[in-house]
Point group: C2
Chain length 132, copies 2
Amino acid sequence: MKYIEKLRNSGLRPTKQRLQICEVLFNTEKTFHFTINELEKKIKDRANNKISLATIYNTVHAFEKKGYLKQIPINSNQTYFDTNITDHHHFYDLKEEKLIDLENSDVGPINIKRKINGKKIKSVEVLVKLED
Amino acid sequence: MKYIEKLRNSGLRPTKQRLQICEVLFNTEKTFHFTINELEKKIKDRANNKISLATIYNTVHAFEKKGYLKQIPINSNQTYFDTNITDHHHFYDLKEEKLIDLENSDVGPINIKRKINGKKIKSVEVLVKLED
DNA sequence: TAGTAGTTTATAATGATTCTAAATAAGTGT
DNA sequence: ACACTTATTTAGAATCATTATAAACTACTA
């Protein structure tokens, strides 16, 4: 399995559950946005295989900590994650409540002129809200 | 009272509770960020006067709908609101879990080159995450 | 002043997320 | 393969922000 090394290299034991979650999350050309509930459903559908919700939470947070997933900063009932970990941005369609990727090249350089003492910039994320 | 007209003009009855909340939120030169819980505390401290939590939620949402408050898009346990309703952005200090205003002029123009069919841009918000 | 429509309130309900502690599985050394 | 330690999974309980409910109350209008 191609994810065993990835996990081991991160200090995560390659368990059956984690490998399955990897398949669902990373075994696709397209990146995508998801909530924990959507992910749980996807796993159930895919393999007719149930992974405990607690494990899904644990794993998603572990993957986020290792940098394999990003949280998308948006105010929503549920937390959204992104399998696209490159620097990029998002449209948020307020009516449909849907996220759409917005590539860095579609936004152009963002120049943060102000500095905060003793702090480094970790990320710069743009959220563009859309209405009809 | 200076807020009576403001409320009436928005179709909101100027109740005792709403006027008090206006005092706390808008009767200051500085704009600020807050959560519902912080606001509740502020109200309690200020007037030794308790407004039901449900009313605070209702009022904050009513004010948001009328455009007197903005939600700040950030993933946090609690929802953050901003009394600064001008176009502007935020730093988020990951360690301190604190928001800092970032004026539009400190970011420079943001050019969203991509268009989504049938949708208009309502807002463009930048979140700059800070680490040590 | 009466009528109505909007508000407030305490409390219950909801729902996402986290915690707990017991069972299980993976890694390591022998 | 075996014993041992440590990480992981799990069901279910707990937590906590937020929303819903429905009864009491208040502001507006005629």
